[in-house]
């Protein structure tokens, strides 16, 4: 498993970790039952704080991507298509929300924004 952290990124370190592990699971690089490094080991290897890796793992657990057994460690959870879809939907919502915020500040109306979105959908999806 590769994890690449960037200080230049706007994203918090724990989010960079969860995203890359999620990506690895979604693309099948990590398969259900694969063991993940321990929280403390990951912190040591990446030279980051234990709280950061702990947070990343608990977010992944909350979102159903990994399961943790006391004394045994963390493993990739059984693949759940529903969860994956939900996760991707959440990412889409995040991006749309950003677009709405920018539109609000620059005085672009809802109608204009919807037109723009329809146009993009036409180009890409249909």
């Amino acid at each position: 498993m590769d994890i690449k952290l960037s200080n230049a990124s706007d994203k918090p370190i724990y989010e960079q970790i969860t995203e890359q592990i999620k990506q690895a699971i979604i693309t099948g690089k990590l398969t259900p039952g694969d063991p993940l490094p321990s929280i403390r080991n990951l912190a040591r290897e990446l030279k980051i704080s234990v709280m950061t890796t702990k947070r990343a793992y608990s977010d992944l657990e909350r979102d159903g991507f990994i399961v943790t057994f006391a004394g045994k460690g963390s493993f990739v959870a059984e693949r759940n298509q529903e969860f994956l879809r939900e996760e991707l939907l959440r990412q889409v919502e995040d991006h749309l929300n950003k677009a709405v915020q920018i539109a609000k500040i620059s005085g672009i109306h809802g109608k204009e924004l919807l037109d723009l979105l329809s146009l993009l959908i036409e180009e890409e999806l249909e």
């Binding site: 918090p12 234990v50 609000k104 500040i105």
Partner: protein, 282 residues
């Protein structure tokens, strides 16, 4: 949750300086960075943890035990590294081994020798002939060889080159693989802390300004830059501190209170310290 260090309302009046209600807690298994400018009270506070000074009032506990009453038991469990190696300069690493094995019940000679080897510390050379990097590494080997549960470090990396600092940080991370172990790390090289610290406690003029989870600290704040005129668009309650210069204004803001469309820079621990010490209230 258990705590390696609990300090509550620690007070001491010195002729020129005072500690005012210093309070913070270090949860077991975590690393706390203790930051502040020179003379802010970092070393004084550490001296109380080690029971080297007498407090006026307040409570200091290590591993849940009172620091005066259980002085000896506590000291068996802590390793301390100061900004330099304070032992007689004519001693060498081997002689230090003979002294410390008589002091600590848990002294682990094999581990001490292993650390010396790993750090390539000459065992027969008197300390006065060692470089600054070597002295600090020896100091750390001395602090670790009785397998303490808590490391108290006072400016351990100041004056060291980046390579040695990296080796030392590595060793600290290795120490933290045991989840019963904790570290209090005082420094003004905040970049070291930005990586490995779990909590940041900031002391200024003898008072704790904040003691917070590092991730929350770095991600909850943002720095907005612009003109005074533009700054009026920011919601008032989002502004924490500001700094003006001839060409504009910088404002430390609560990220959550600001519309995402505003561009905010990520602050460093140093930025946040500067805003709190030098910045004006909005």
């Amino acid at each position: 949750m258990t705590y390696a260090i609990e300090v509550a309302n620690l007070r001491k009046k010195f002729p020129q300086f005072q500690l005012v209600d210093v309070s913070f807690q270090l949860p077991t298994g975590t690393i706390m960075g203790f930051v502040g400018e020179n003379g802010a009270g970092k070393t004084s506070t550490i001296k109380y943890l080690l029971n080297l000074l007498q407090k006026d009032s307040g409570e200091v506990k290590l591993f849940g035990l009172d620091h005066v009453e259980h002085d000896i038991a506590i000291k068996e469990q802590i390793g301390v590294v100061f900004d330099d190696l304070y032992v007689p300069e004519t001693l060498n690493a081997t002689q230090i081994n003979h002294i410390l094995e008589k002091i600590y019940a848990n002294w682990d000679e094999a581990y001490y020798v292993e650390l010396l080897k790993r750090f390539k510390i000459p065992i027969k050379k008197p300390i006065k002939q060692l470089s600054r990097g070597m002295r600090m590494k020896l100091s750390i080997a001395m602090a670790l060889a009785h397998h303490p549960k808590l490391l108290i470090l006072d400016e351990p990396t100041s004056g060291l080159d980046p390579i040695v600092r990296d080796e030392i940080l590595d060793l600290f991370m290795e120490f933290m693989q045991d989840e019963d172990n904790s570290i209090l790390f005082s420094t003004h090289i905040t970049s070291d802390l930005e990586k490995i610290a779990d909590y940041i406690t900031f002391i200024h003029e003898g008072e704790i300004v904040f003691s917070k989870n590092k991730d929350e600290l770095l991600y909850d704040y943002g720095i907005w830059k612009g003109t005074v005129e533009q700054s009026k668009e920011l919601p008032e309650h989002a502004k924490v501190r500001m700094r003006k210069n001839a060409f504009g204004i910088e404002i430390l803001v609560n990220r959550k209170e600001v519309n995402k469309a505003f561009h905010l820079d990520k602050p460093s621990i140093e930025d946040i310290m500067l805003f709190f010490v030098k910045g004006a209230y909005v």
